[in-house]
Symmetry: D2
């Protein structure tokens, strides 16, 4: 049996070194160490790379990591929430503010600030978002899929750090199965009072299943749980394929019974993961664990595989 | 200041008595006690009653409480996940099995069992679900809303304990903003290969906003978080209204930063809850806390307000 | 395979009926249902009944349930924290107040209130506690065990609802392995400035091991985790015995890696639980789940086994 | 208001750079960034540095970070659990093994392995620990404090990476308020069958209070909660002092009501933290967050304050 090697830290140590040391520890440290190993395999080998993104990840400061991963070819398919798309667009012209989770919410309301835990959004930015949306939402007769709808939005965003713009540039499909459940839904409703906009609720299903069918080997990174996790995983259900590599970063735990905290092992019983899949769940805050995972993996592939990039 | 009154228990005591005693305790007990009080107000006064349902609540055995609440007029608007609708339909002809959370998922896969924590579903029931769906999915040219789509399914289910059948009978709208994210999505895709089915991704937004506009006073019960919580709450954003009463039962905590565990106070900063709203969050497993809440509240309104029912 | 039976609730239903219905559900509901079954076995059969109590359970209102269980012969050995003993004594003359978890703690400090989540304690009650302690702490030369020390305190408390007084009356040993880690420790320090008080740090170990040795069959209920859980379980380690029945109510989850959330299965690898033990962990707030467990079990044994009481 | 600055990662980036970037994010990332800032102040300014250590931190691989902090003068007072001391001694001659959290615990029992989540301990190492203890436990008439007892053990351990040996070398007091609650307690019991060993249960209280009295300014790092957290914090209660800086890394959340997850703000109401204290809690797995905190802080003080080391 391998033994625990007590971690040694040193001044100036790199994220990569630290996560390497964590592989020989227990608990979350080992899980994170394993996650870097799996992610390294996913990025250097010939996997179709899915990324399921939920939680208020963009407001919390993780946007540029996502867009960098897209631009560097490390995300082939993105499944996310409407909220992350909205906040991505807001970041392209406005900002999120550093607030406090102990705020008086009635005072915030009066001050025109909406709170996401310890982040504030200004009403002004929402108004600007509304104007942006009303100016870029298309007026077209034909029915489109959610993916096409998001691609269309992406084409209108100039900020190259934007997730949807990066995905547009790299031709990476973004699926948002609960499109109506966000400011996008509210703006689409406003828009439809006077213009034409027809998004089919089921069209994305065919598109993502086609991708699954065509993927010889697939890997997935799941931040949070929710609809993005389920939608990405279920897409394998009607194909003979399944995910071969999977990493989940979540604050939920299995004991709650819900999908967001469900083990990746559970997904094997459904056929969403292959019976021989390599997988790991790191329990904890993705705003800490995701930058660690990304920084360590990027470091490693740049070192070992200079020729790839 | 009021003081803690140490709980006294007695043989045969009712759920109602116990939750009354909890009001004078600390921590989750008091929160649950407060939740019953708020729910009582919501059910006996003239509130438009929203219910946001996520998590694997139907497989876990909470289905008949939901359908009873619908039939008794205690739910006016239901927002839920595709999974709960699918499992509701499976219960109408099949079953969920009592399994173990410590199962070997590779063995389950071989045995044709899909696991949801400690519940199993048999492949046979999924096949029967598929056949049911292919027989009841409509072949129609015109574009419908998600709500209309679910209502159509509800009309075809005979089991009167079914949530969607009960909602059909009582004319209660069901919204499922991530319709494609479930077996419904997969079946709709299959169906659309040969038949016509057009569900508009945004049509529900208008419908639920109209309901919000028309509601003089509104209350909401939120089980879990996710898309149902967000969709129900955001519907108030474009109206001058907001929720006046709110109860949240969740296993997530605010510290994670995500919406599912966000405090209801946070929703005040957005204008989703009124600045004078009464609200409480009970942290913990909804399969315990929800039956307690429902049984205690039902007992109380039957006792005090015989004439109402 | 057994199937999920959807819960039916009805007005006036008893806690016992509800927990019986939960046995056929998933997730926490089933765990709670199982816990009642195990607790019923523990109370009606010939088990030595251990109870490990941590967390701010007395301030939160669970004190009288504990003292009732002691007086009814349902607890043979209690292991707990210093804080619960202190708060038990404060309840015998003073009170805990219903506060808010969102308080301004600087203001509370100025107002002479100490906060435990949503419970306040008044400085006045602490002063009275101090006076009580200085009047009852013994001035004696000989070395005593922690158990003897607590028994001595119990003999001086008049309130018969008190846990330590009930234990004194029923001759139930109370072990508090971290005696110094509470106001008891601070008061003992004050006292020792002028008087004699000698408590041996290890004497309790022998006493509890002797009890374990002499117990033909043993069961344990664990509220929270921490030192009480570990101390009670480890006592079996140096005996050929182990616990045969075990129930754990905790808010911690296994994924954190710590003992408080560790599965009871893990205790089997140590020999603390027998390899054939019946055990269950109910994850969630003990201020809800413990009254449910106690009320349901008490109801059941009174019904079925009238002759026992 | 300051705005969120989206994190940028780069190959080879250091832990220090990453935690600096986190300061401008939301959620756990910002908390961790703040923690590094506070820890930097604590280590470079003239604070008495307390460290409260609970959870299975040594088995999980964090031992050498703790002993390094002690040897570098960054811990003045250590409060911990018996288990961490035991595992520290086991590491000095034996090892912990990398296991799986999904193990069959009955099989492990048969194989002579005791499990701590995903770490195994071999019975052989426990036997060797027993022999070590029986050879080094003192046979002395006089009564000693827990701190003296641990110091005595530390003097007998040769491994200079050992926490208790490092504390012995640096003259750092270690307090373990629940000494009996560990293998130490069991070994002390065995030993006392034939030899003399008298540890006073309350003597440590005086010693730590004296330290608190003498500390002009104090800071504390808390890993986990439990007895170490409470004992360290309560020591301030009977002095006019309080902690001026505090960092807590915990997997518990405030909503559970217990001390382990209690906010540091709550400690202000008790006077344990000063009303002007700087403090932060990072929620999550300490096996990830603690190495990050330590590596980043060490890097920073070595860079900025070369002359200090």
């Amino acid at each position: 049996m391998d033994t625990v090697k007590q971690i040694e830290i040193s001044p100036g140590m790199s994220v990569d070194s630290l996560t390497k040391a964590m592989m020989h520890c227990g608990f979350g440290a080992r899980r994170l160490g394993d996650a870097v190993n799996i992610y390294e395999s996913m990025l250097i080998d010939d996997y179709r790379k899915f990324f399921a993104l939920s939680g208020a990840i963009v407001p919390a400061g993780m946007r540029n990591i996502i867009s960098m991963l897209i631009r560097d070819g490390h995300i082939d398919v993105l499944v996310t929430t409407g909220a992350n798309l909205v906040h991505d667009m807001i970041e392209s012209f406005g900002c999120h503010c550093l607030g406090s989770s102990d705020s008086d919410d009635v005072e915030l309301r009066d001050a025109g600030l909406s709170r996401i835990y310890d982040i504030y959004l200004r009403d002004d930015d929402f108004i600007e978002f509304e104007e942006l949306m009303q100016s870029i939402l298309p007026d077209k007769e034909e029915v489109i899929s959610g993916r096409e709808f998001i691609r269309l939005l992406g084409s209108k965003i100039e900020d190259r750090k934007s997730i949807i713009r990066s995905a547009y540039d790299q031709n990476v499909p973004i699926f948002c199965p609960a499109l109506a459940d966000s400011m996008l839904g509210l703006q689409a409703w406003l828009h439809s009072q006077t213009k034409n906009l027809h998004v089919d609720a089921f069209a994305d299903v065919k598109e993502i299943i086609d991708i699954c069918y065509q993927s010889p080997k697939s890997g997935i990174v799941i931040l949070g749980g929710g609809v993005p996790k389920n939608f990405a995983l279920q897409s394998m259900l009607v194909t003979p394929k399944s995910f071969d590599l999977a990493i989940q970063l979540t604050t939920d735990t299995p004991e709650a019974g819900g999908l967001s905290g469900a083990t990746l092992s559970e997904a094997i019983s459904w056929g969403k993961l292959s019976t021989t899949a390599r997988y790991v769940t790191v329990y904890g805050d993705a705003t800490i664990n995701f930058p660690l995972l990304a920084a360590a993996t990027i470091s490693r592939i740049r070192n070992k595989h200079q020729n790839i990039k």
